[in-house]
Symmetry: C2
């Protein structure tokens, strides 16, 4: 990995403040934090006088971490109601939102209550959205238990569910009241999920912190402190971007979509569940890098360095043979990121920098896809 800048020292794990329009919040990153969840929540101004809250999780995370979370909440005087959904992307539906909200009402939650989202991106997006709309909005505490959720999705306030027509087409901006990222919960992740989460970290490096890419390549899973430091560093990048453009109107937040234009299209075209989100984003980043080389002057060495990092992280870097270019282009056209039908891509002129281009024509996108195909089918 070439690095034109001196590598910045790893950021210490700790408490990262995030600015949002209605309230600011803290992201706690470290080891063993799940045991302190209740105490941290008790310190929130939003905690109010009552102790009612809902602990939303999925059936897989429930078996691993719900006991510790419930114990911590009860120890701090909360009366948590446990609401579990099936693990997996299919739970990101309005049907599950309704089920959760009925469960919250049945448990006696009111406007003074809180929702705790314990799990990965699906649980965070789903429970965050349910909290955003229950009683026209009650606070949510995000307790991410995957790399993906800790380095990315738990921070920034985007919540939502899927439609048949596409992913995340229904949602709300609902910043959490608090984020508690306990890196010890990552120990139980299967290897594939561990790997996919770091795709978003690589994306942060590409758009904002070239030196992060070097450190990411050397990260050891067994080193909790190094993992915590890397999570915290990613949270700082995400927080900085989000604070500058919370509602994705100024163009800045759109930079976080690097690799996502074709990544989302690949998830859709291959069928949800074939690729994990981070895997699809990894392939999408390679396509964006290819376009960046052609259209934004990305050095070929930078493109090669990104590919080397993604391979080292155990992530795919090629489109599968079974997914047609036409299907990918069609999925991109339907993506809500495209306004008035123009093809917009985030490009990187140099690793560590990014820009938005709406000059990308369909042929350039088709060419990039074609060159990054595992085996030719057309």
């Amino acid at each position: 990995m070439p690095s034109a800048e001196p590598a910045s020292p790893p950021a210490p794990a700790g408490v990262i403040p995030v600015a949002a329009s209605r309230h600011s919040y803290a992201v706690h990153v470290g080891r063993g934090l799940l045991a302190t969840l209740g105490a941290l929540m008790r310190g929130l101004p939003q905690a109010g006088e009552g102790g009612r809250c809902a602990l939303v999780t999925d059936d897989r995370v429930q078996a691993l971490h719900a006991g510790a979370a419930l114990e911590s909440l009860r120890g701090a005087g909360f009366s948590p109601a446990l609401l579990a959904v099936p693990a997996g992307e299919a739970s990101k539906s309005l049907h599950r939102v309704e089920e959760l909200c009925e469960g919250m009402a049945a448990a006696g939650l009111d406007r003074g209550s809180l929702v705790v989202a314990l799990g990965g991106g699906v649980v965070g997006d789903l429970a965050g959205f349910a909290a955003a709309v229950f009683g026209r909005g009650i606070p949510v505490v995000q307790v991410p238990t995957t790399v993906m959720a800790q380095v990315d999705s738990s921070v920034g306030g985007k919540t939502g569910v899927n439609l048949r027509a596409g992913k995340n087409l229904v949602g709300a901006f609902h910043p959490p009241a608090l984020v508690v990222a306990d890196v010890e919960t990552l120990r139980t992740l299967p290897p594939r999920e561990w790997n996919e989460g770091w795709a978003e970290a690589a994306k942060h490096g590409v758009i904002a912190d070239r030196a992060l890419l070097n450190d990411l390549a050397r990260l050891a899973r067994s080193d909790d402190d190094a993992v915590a430091a890397m999570v915290a560093r990613n949270v700082r990048i995400k927080a900085s971007v989000v604070a500058a453009d919370e509602f994705e109107r100024a163009g800045r937040r759109e930079l976080l979509n690097f690799g996502h234009t074709l990544g989302h299209a690949l998830e859709t075209a291959a069928g949800y569940g074939t690729f994990l989100h981070g895997e699809a984003v990894a392939v999408g980043m390679m396509a964006a890098a290819r376009l960046s080389r052609r259209l934004a002057g990305l050095p070929v060495d930078d493109e090669a360095a990104l590919e080397e990092l993604l391979l080292r992280l155990g992530l795919p870097v090629r489109f599968p043979a079974g997914v047609s270019t036409d299907a990918l282009i069609e999925a991109m056209r339907r993506d809500k990121k495209f306004r008035a039908g123009r093809l917009r891509f985030v490009l990187t002129p140099r690793l560590g920098e990014a820009l938005v281009s709406d000059d990308v024509d369909e042929e350039a996108a088709r060419a990039a896809i074609g060159e990054l195909r595992a085996a030719p089918i057309e």
Copy 2:
């Protein structure tokens, strides 16, 4: 109707600005405005470059007014997709939200598109909520076609749907980009719906404008200009209250709940659809007046004057014999307006003024219900 203050002159119909946190918007009130809908929308900064929009209505209003609305939209360069739901409260469900959002996606709506809500309170609440969550929020234009929606629900940004557990338990604050209230659409209202809408106008008079109550008693349905002036006057009151407390946190907006504590309970306990919302609110206002006489010093003449006005408006003023006091109390307890289990009521110490009390004990509420029962059953 006693009036200690000189009656203020009727406010002219026209354009009422409403302040909201993210954007301000205009409420246009007058005759024949439906024909100008497209032109008014074209002037919105939110209209953007594209012309895609969804016209959401119900099957009853569709037959009456959708043609004129579509013509106006097309004439101004919009490409409206018509999405209709069955008329009635049952359409305020997350199931219909999903159906609408899928329809909006299928029609090619994106973040630059708008939703137009043509209809009464159900359509406004439902379409407003769908707009609030589609693509994490796109603008909604409210085109209220009932008295209830024109004087009250189209202004202020509350949107939402019902759960089995209760009304409006899921929703969002999503202020409209524009409100177009054409009083000529009120001509087609059945008498019962005409009557119920003015219950909210009476409520506005009780909490903020004693003189309005006198003018309301004299309002002639056949006088479009007087109706428009009365609608505009109510919009000004609602706008003033909402601007002071958009998110219902400062206590001010809660004053709009006068009559709604027992009104909502009556709707729930009697079964949705037995009472129209305004009818239930009328009975609830009488109960709140009874409590106000006991607990806040409301003169007995004021209480009698309110009853006389409601009867003149063709509204009910007594609890039906078939609904038990226990069922009403239980429904109140489950209402999301009650935080930490306390019984909160809006009271009026004198018509034209209001305050919030959380000192109301259950026995006082039971007594007020018992005294206002059509025939004793217990």
